[in-house]
Structures are given as structure tokens and as C-alpha cells.
């Protein structure tokens, strides 16, 4: 297998990496770019959502994207969510509502929620549940995660 060179925008910065073509975006982010906020909880089989990132505005499982498919595209990870040192309202809301326990699902869940709020700033509870339905969490029972997304949406609507 010959390595390939891929250029993509990660959290607003252009990054070029040379890596094997069978590498997924998940492991390219974790191993080649050192962005370890993106997690693997199912063995990269598209079942857990711990690897969720935002690719060109859409929440995707980074374990199902081959690095070559990300060429020329724009990726947002949990590390890029805070702006100018200020946390995103979702990050604050997750902490403040007690939606974080072990935290392993947290980056993925926050990014899934961000993709939702980016397209639907005041989602219904059902829409929130649906947006989070691909993000498994074994600790929280989801209630506080759903409440956190609701809270962040309210916060952001006031700020607007």
C-alpha cells in the first residue's frame, strides 16, 4: 500500500498529512494530527458515535470516512469548538447540567448536538433525541444530555 497525501481544513486550519489510504479520518485525527478528543468505542464500526466530527457542516462518524474521502473538505472536532478561548454554549451546558459522567461519549455527543443547532437553532425534544440517537452513552441515561442541548439552544437564542 502506498501512502497518500491529503489536505484538509481542521478547525479552520489547513493541514496536510501523508498516511496510508486505508486509514480512517478517525485515526488520522487521533494519530497523525494528535486530536484525541475524537474517540473509538465500537471498534470503528459506525455503531457508537464516539467518533462524531462535523464534516462540511454535517455530523458524521469519522470511523466510516476514509482519509482520502476527506481531501479538500472541512472538519470540526471538539478541540476547535471553543472560540477565542471561550467555550461553546453546548460545552458549558453539558458541564452545568451534569450531562458529563465518564466523558467518553461527550465530545461526539456535543458535536452531534452542534450540527443540529447549526441547522435548527430551536429544536424540539424529539429532534434532540433524534440527533443524539447515534451517540451511545452508558453512563447518563441521556436525560441530562438532552436537557443540556435544550439549555444551550435557549442560551444561544438569547445571545442572538
Amino acid at each position: 500500500m502506498k501512502p497518500i497525501t491529503v489536505t484538509l481544513t481542521v478547525n479552520g486550519q489547513t493541514r496536510t498529512i501523508t498516511t496510508l489510504p486505508n486509514k480512517t479520518l478517525l485515526y488520522a485525527l487521533r494519530e497523525d494530527l494528535g486530536l484525541t478528543g475524537v474517540k473509538d468505542a465500537c471498534g470503528g464500526e459506525g455503531e457508537c458515535g464516539a467518533c462524531t466530527v462535523i464534516l462540511d457542516g454535517e455530523a458524521v462518524n469519522a470511523c466510516l470516512v476514509l482519509i482520502g474521502q476527506a481531501d479538500g473538505r472541512s472538519v470540526e472536532t471538539i478541540e476547535g469548538l471553543a472560540q477565542d478561548g471561550e467555550l461553546h454554549p453546548l460545552q458549558c451546558a453539558f458541564v452545568e447540567t451534569g450531562a458529563v459522567q465518564c466523558g467518553f461519549c461527550t465530545p461526539g455527543a456535543i458535536l452531534a448536538a452542534k450540527a443540529l443547532l447549526d441547522r435548527d437553532p430551536s429544536p424540539t425534544d424529539d429532534a434532540i433525541r433524534e440527533a443524539l440517537s447515534g451517540n451511545l452513552c452508558r453512563c447518563t441515561g441521556y436525560s441530562k444530555m438532552i436537557a443540556a442541548v435544550r439549555r444551550a439552544a435557549e442560551e444561544m437564542s438569547h445571545a442572538r
Binding site: 474517540k39 471498534g43 460545552q91 466523558g103 453512563c139 441530562k144
Partner: protein, 752 residues
């Protein structure tokens, strides 16, 4: 008492959450990669087989492979195990379950490790396997271990069951089947180990028991324990399943053999196959009562499938036996619990530790009895609920904690009435079910059950809490910090937890058994007194005044003249002088004379119990047989709340696990001989499956608890599954005696 509390009970935010929402929190797989070798495990494809030969030469020649290790390379003890030392680090002679580690490949990259694993040639001679715990006790069943397949049997007889059953007006009998459950924490097991130049090892773990991991590693490597340092990384959930030293032992072996740093991460398949599960069980119950619904006698025979290795199986069987009759007074009880080896992936500790299995049976039986007698299931429970002073089948005398049961039932009655008002969606039928639950705290009488923790004053006047037991994600550190802050009269922010590192932390004990906030809280309160004493000693010397002229109050030393000198001043001065201001304290789980039995019918009875109950509303699609849980009202007595969001989080997470237990989850052996071992087939509840959960938290203080704290870690799961089965019966008239409840069990009888 609660009115005076300043930090305990307040909505403090967990400090580790900030790192978790920004991606900074470092779990084992996030630790630096530079120069770190990759471990990968060759695993058994057979349930049971003799190992004829292991050929490693080809694997060693794979470019990038550094070492290939088998049992022959293990320098110390070939086996380990917390209760019975029967678990091989790497299999020798035979493999006893699919997924068992047979060889360990260490390589420079994941790719090379994968190729290395593929190149190891193991010749097996397959042997017959047994997967059913009842069949495994047949005389001609394939043997899992040479000593036979019965690992442990508990037999208890209190009163006279035969006479009791004969005297009963009604006797009902049923067999219940509960599945093998994966703890399914999101972070699979992981460990990293480094060989240090001075001949010691440093091992990072995702584990509930770093001190016991150290013991297991030292044993397998033949090293003294003080040559092994075990550090806790951030832990991505555990639920009992991370009470297993398998991965730390293998990572350490890899580092030892290569004199390097080795990381070993299980993928999800490996996590399913080679880490502890909740015991599947078959429970046969016979229950007798009077026409008025007074329970007279219970006879139960239980078979627990403990899989190929003992792990905590004997203890799980013991606790299941203790919990067998649930929260009810029954004069005549006879129990036989068999913990049986099979060729299945091994079972061990998991949240509830035997109690969820027992409660599925007894709480289903209570509703079946109520139906038989045309009584209200709730009133039947009220009539028979335990009361203070009652004696359990373990001869433990109940203390005041049972006062919560009538209150719990009142809340359930109100919740049931309210939920019953809700009309079902078109085409659906609805039902409301209830169940009670009982869970023990602590490890049990005569089991060492201590926790040591340390407080140290930092130069800046803040306090470092050297916690001796890891936070698994549930928020233990936050609760301990709140209690420490309360005891020292300091703001919550002034106390910071230091992660467990066996070379500096005291031994706080294994994080388990709903006991940690209680145990660590008590130990931290004692340490706080010690720290205040040390501070006053130092202040007296420094100010050159008699010690009793000084007192401590809320972060300051008060002189005889009433002057306040802030703690920080002494802290920085003591640091300059090299005087440590530190206090350590040990708290041991109490076994009061009044409640602990003099004669033990069972090895390790638990004397501290917590109670709860849940009302569940379900909607059933009669044609498809699908069940949707729409509402759960969870009523739990937790003692004084330390952190409400934390307690609610424990209950909500546990209820989700209970829903999975009742409706979705089962790690079963498929027709093709393979185990369900991925999230594709093993379904966890998602955000869309979750009902409205209302937590009703009762705070009946526990006199021996720190500020009245009890425990909540496991309890929330216990009533959920039987309450769902009872609700399904209310909705459909179909009694599910096996979980997860299969849609066809409901759809068929309803003619769908």
C-alpha cells in the same frame, strides 16, 4: 443537620467535566504515542480446545514485530484472579472460552501487530464445550476445570419451608431466565505499561482497582510489589467490569519482555469476549402465601453461569443469595444457589452484583401472586415489606433503614395513579408496573472493607485530596471534594483531587459496591480532623503560643485574641520550611453488634442496605409486540444528597441500563456458534429509547454515614426490569419470564 451544610448538597460542578467537554481529558489511549509499542492479542477461536502447539517464528519475522509472547514467557505466576487464582495471563494447555488470550504480539505499529497476530499459528484440538449452567452440573458434562464445574454452592435454610408451603393457601412456581450482559462502558479496556531503567514498571490503567492490579502484575511478573507503579488514567466508565486485571497484566508483560513501553487496547469484540459480564442465570422460585396475601414460604434454586473463570463469581452468588427474597419478610426460606463454570466468556462483577437477577424473579413473583389472589400488587408489597427489626434470611437484623419502604410505596402509589391516567397512543395498549428493590452497601462481614485517603495542604492554601480509589466517571471525586470542603469549612474550589497513583496515593480500596461516597467520605472527614490538628500544631509552634489557645474555623486559625490568620499563610510558610501539613485516615466499614449475626448462615452477609422502588409505564404495540417505556418514576432513599445532579445521573444511567436489561441486551451464543460481540447485534438503549425519568430522592440520613450519606451507585438498576415486565403484564396480560422480553412472546398470545 442538613440546614447547616455549606457544600454538601450544593449544586457544585464536577471539575473534570471541563477537560471532558474540550477533548483534553486523557484516557489511556490518549496518552502520548511517541515511542510507544503496540500490543495485540492472539485469541482463542474455540470455546474449548487443547492447545497442541503454538508456532511463533513466522510472526516474529513479520517486519515491525518486536516480540511474540506465550505462557512459556510468563516469568512469575501463570495465573491470577481476585478470589480464585484460575485465570491464565496467557492460556496454556487448554483454552476454556472463545476470545481467551493465547499469545501477545508486540510491534512497532498497529499494522505490524495485526500482521503479527495473523502469523501466529496455533494448533488446537477442539474439545466438547458446555454453555448451560444446569447441563454443566450433569456428571458427564465436559469439564471446565479439573476440580469439576461447580465453583460454589450456597445453601441456606431458615424456618421450615416444607411446612410453610404445606400451610400456604396458594403456592405459585415459576422459572426465570436472565441474560448475559456486557457492562458496555464506552471506553473499552485499555492499559499502557513502561519498563523503567531502574528495573521498575509504570502501568497506566482504566481500572476500578489499581492496587489489586499492582498485586496481580507483580505476581505474574515475579516482581516485588514496590517495583510496580500503577496510575489511573481518566476512566471511560466501568460498572464493575473493570474489576479485572487481564489487560494491565498483559501490557505489563509486554513492557517487561521488550524493556519498552507498550499500549494494549481492547476493541469492542475483545471487550465482549474477554472481560467480565453480568452473570446469566436461571432462577426457579416457589412462593407460598395465605389467601390474604401474607408471604409464608419461599424456595429457590438458582444456577448462575460464571463462565470459564471464577473472577468475582463466588461473591456474586453470595450476594444474589442474600437478595433472593427481595425487600420482603418471609418466615420460611430455603435457597440453593449454584455458581457454575461453563465454557462461556467469564462473568464477574457488574453493577448490582447479583441483586438485579434476584429481583427480576422475586418482583415478578410478587405480581404473579397478586394476580393469583386478586390483590393489588402494591398493597401486597405493603403488607409484606421488611420493617426495622426484621431478620433477613442471612440472620442480619434490619436497622432503621427499612423505614423508607412505606414512604417509597406511598410515592409509587401516587406515581402509579398519575401514570395510569395517561391514555395510550392510537393502536397501542398501556400498562403501569411497579417493583421494589434492595441493594447492599459494602463488601460484607469479614471481608476487608477499608478505605484510606489523604489530605495535604498545598503551599497556596488549597487542599489536595489524595483519593485512594479511582473515579470511574460517576463523580466520586466530586463527592469526596464536597465532603472534604465541608469538613474543613472551605469552598469547594479549594479542594482538588489527585488521581490515583499507587506510588503516592494511599490505598482507598476497589471502587465498587455502592460504598465509595460513604467510605471515602467518612475517611476524608477523619483526615480533615487530622489536618486541622496538624495545622494547629504547626501554628502554635510558629506563633509560639500554647496549642489550646488556637482554634480552627473555616479556613483560618483563630488566636486567643480573636485574630484570624488565613490557612494559606501557614501553608506557604510550612512549605518554605519543608514541613508537610498532611493527614491520612482509614475508615473501616462498620458491622454493628445489634445487626450483625452471631452465627453466619452465609460467608459474608451485608448489613447495610438501601431501598428503592420504581413505577414504570409502558406502551405496547400488540401486533408487533414491541414495548416502549414512556415514563419511569424512580424513588430511592440515598441518605443525605451530596450532589443532586450526581445522584440523578446515577439513577438515570441505571434506569437506562435496566431498560436495556429488560428489553434489548443479551450477549448470546448464536446458531453459528459465535457470540454476539458487537454493538451491531448487542443493542444498547439510545436517546430515542429513553422515557421521561422522574427521580424522587428520599434523604433519610444514615447515622454512620458522612453527613448522613448512604449509597446510590447500583440501586437504580435493580427494580427497573421487573417493573417493566410487570407493566407489560398490566398492559397485555402476558407474563414475560425471560428477559430481554422478546416481541414474539407478547405478539403471539395477543394474536397479532
Amino acid at each position: 443537620m442538613p440546614a447547616e451544610l455549606k457544600t454538601v448538597g450544593k449544586a457544585e460542578l464536577r471539575k473534570d467535566a471541563w477537560d471532558k467537554v474540550t477533548g483534553r481529558a486523557a484516557y489511556v489511549d490518549d496518552l502520548p504515542r511517541e515511542g510507544v509499542l503496540v500490543g495485540a492479542v492472539v485469541r482463542s477461536p474455540h470455546h474449548h480446545a487443547r492447545i497442541v502447539a503454538i508456532e511463533t517464528a513466522a510472526a516474529r519475522n513479520v517486519p515491525g514485530v518486536v516480540a511474540v509472547l506465550t505462557a512459556a514467557d510468563v516469568p512469575g505466576s501463570k495465573t491470577f484472579g481476585p478470589l480464585v487464582q484460575d485465570q491464565p495471563a496467557l492460556a496454556f494447555d487448554v483454552v476454556r472460552h472463545m476470545g481467551e488470550p493465547v499469545a501477545l504480539v508486540i510491534a512497532q505499529s498497529k499494522e505490524a501487530a495485526r500482521h503479527g497476530v495473523a502469523a501466529v499459528q496455533v494448533t488446537y484440538e477442539p474439545l466438547p464445550a458446555v454453555h448451560d449452567p444446569v447441563a454443566a452440573l450433569e456428571p458427564d458434562a465436559p469439564r471446565v476445570h479439573s476440580g469439576g464445574n461447580l465453583l460454589t454452592r450456597y445453601e441456606i435454610s431458615e424456618g421450615d419451608v416444607a411446612t410453610g408451603l404445606a400451610a400456604a393457601d396458594v403456592v405459585i412456581e415459576a422459572t426465570f431466565t436472565v441474560p448475559r450482559i456486557s457492562p458496555a462502558y464506552m471506553e473499552p479496556e485499555s492499559s499502557m505499561a513502561r519498563w523503567n531503567d531502574d528495573g521498575t514498571l509504570t502501568v497506566w490503567v482504566s481500572s476500578q482497582k489499581p492496587f489489586e492490579d499492582r498485586h496481580a502484575i507483580a505476581g505474574v511478573l515475579g516482581l516485588p510489589e514496590d517495583a510496580v507503579q500503577v496510575c489511573s488514567a481518566v476512566i471511560g466508565g466501568a460498572f464493575g467490569g473493570k474489576e479485572d486485571s487481564g489487560l494491565p497484566v498483559l501490557a505489563a508483560l509486554g513492557a517487561w519482555a521488550t524493556r519498552g513501553t507498550v499500549r494494549l487496547i481492547n476493541n469492542r469484540h475483545e471487550s465482549f469476549l474477554a472481560h467480565p459480564k453480568r452473570h446469566p442465570a436461571r432462577l426457579h422460585y416457589t412462593l407460598g402465601a395465605t389467601r390474604e396475601g401474607e408471604l409464608i414460604a419461599l424456595k429457590a434454586v438458582v444456577h448462575l453461569d460464571t463462565g470459564a473463570y471464577a473472577s468475582y463469581g463466588p461473591a456474586v452468588g453470595g450476594l444474589l443469595t442474600e437478595m433472593l427474597a427481595g425487600a420482603y419478610r418471609i418466615p420460611h426460606v430455603q435457597v440453593e444457589t449454584n455458581v457454575v463454570y461453563t465454557h462461556s466468556p467469564f462473568s464477574g462483577a457488574m453493577r448490582g452484583f447479583g441483586s438485579p437477577q434476584a429481583h427480576f424473579a422475586i418482583e415478578s413473583m410478587m405480581d404473579m401472586l397478586a394476580h393469583e389472589l386478586s390483590l393489588d400488587p402494591l398493597e401486597l408489597r405493603r403488607k409484606n415489606a421488611l420493617r426495622p427489626g426484621d431478620r433477613l434470611l442471612t440472620r442480619v437484623t434490619l436497622d432503621r433503614t427499612a423505614e423508607s419502604l412505606p414512604l417509597i410505596l406511598d410515592h409509587l402509589a401516587a406515581a402509579r395513579a398519575r401514570l395510569a391516567q395517561k391514555p395510550p397512543a392510537p393502536g397501542r395498549v398501556a400498562g403501569v408496573g411497579i417493583a421494589l428493590g434492595m441493594q447492599s452497601m459494602g463488601l460484607g462481614y469479614r471481608v476487608p472493607d477499608d478505605s484510606t485517603n489523604r489530605l495535604a495542604l498545598a503551599p497556596d492554601g488549597s487542599v489536595l485530596l489524595y483519593i485512594g480509589s479511582p473515579d470511574l466517571g460517576q463523580g466520586l471525586a466530586t463527592a469526596a471534594e464536597q465532603i472534604a470542603a465541608e469538613a474543613l469549612g472551605l469552598p469547594y474550589d479549594a479542594v482538588r483531587t489527585v488521581d490515583v497513583d499507587t506510588s503516592v496515593s494511599p490505598n482507598g480500596g476497589v471502587t465498587c459496591a455502592s460504598r465509595m461516597t460513604y467510605l471515602i467520605g467518612n475517611s476524608v472527614m477523619l483526615a480533615a480532623q487530622g489536618l486541622i490538628a496538624a495545622l494547629l500544631d504547626y501554628a502554635a509552634r510558629t506563633l509560639n503560643v500554647p496549642r489550646d489557645a488556637l482554634r480552627y474555623e473555616a479556613g483560618a486559625v483563630i488566636t486567643a485574641a480573636g485574630e484570624r490568620v488565613a490557612l494559606g499563610e501557614f501553608a506557604s510558610r510550612a512549605a518554605d520550611e519543608g514541613v508537610p501539613l498532611v493527614a491520612e485516615a482509614t475508615f473501616s466499614f462498620p458491622y454493628p453488634e445489634e445487626t450483625t449475626p452471631k452465627h453466619l448462615p452465609i460467608g459474608m452477609p451485608h448489613v447495610m442496605l438501601v431501598f428503592g422502588g420504581q413505577a414504570v409505564r409502558v406502551e405496547v404495540d400488540p401486533e408487533l409486540g414491541t414495548v416502549t417505556v414512556t415514563d419511569v418514576v424512580a424513588v430511592h432513599d440515598v441518605g443525605q444528597v451530596v450532589n443532586r445532579a450526581g445522584v440523578e445521573g446515577q439513577i438515570e444511567g441505571a434506569v437506562a441500563m435496566g431498560i436495556g436489561y429488560a428489553l434489548y441486551e443479551s450477549m448470546r451464543l448464536k446458531a453459528d456458534g459465535q457470540w454476539v460481540d458487537s454493538f451491531t447485534e448487542y443493542l444498547l438503549p439510545t436517546a430515542e429509547d429513553m422515557p421521561q425519568i422522574e427521580s424522587v430522592i428520599l434523604e433519610i440520613p444514615e447515622a454512620s454515614g458522612p453527613y448522613g450519606v448512604k449509597g446510590v451507585g447500583e440501586m437504580g438498576l435493580v427494580p427497573t426490569a421487573p417493573a417493566i415486565a410487570n407493566a407489560v403484564f398490566q398492559a397485555t396480560g402476558v407474563r414475560a419470564q425471560a428477559i430481554p422480553i422478546a416481541p414474539e412472546v407478547i405478539a403471539r398470545p395477543l394474536g397479532g
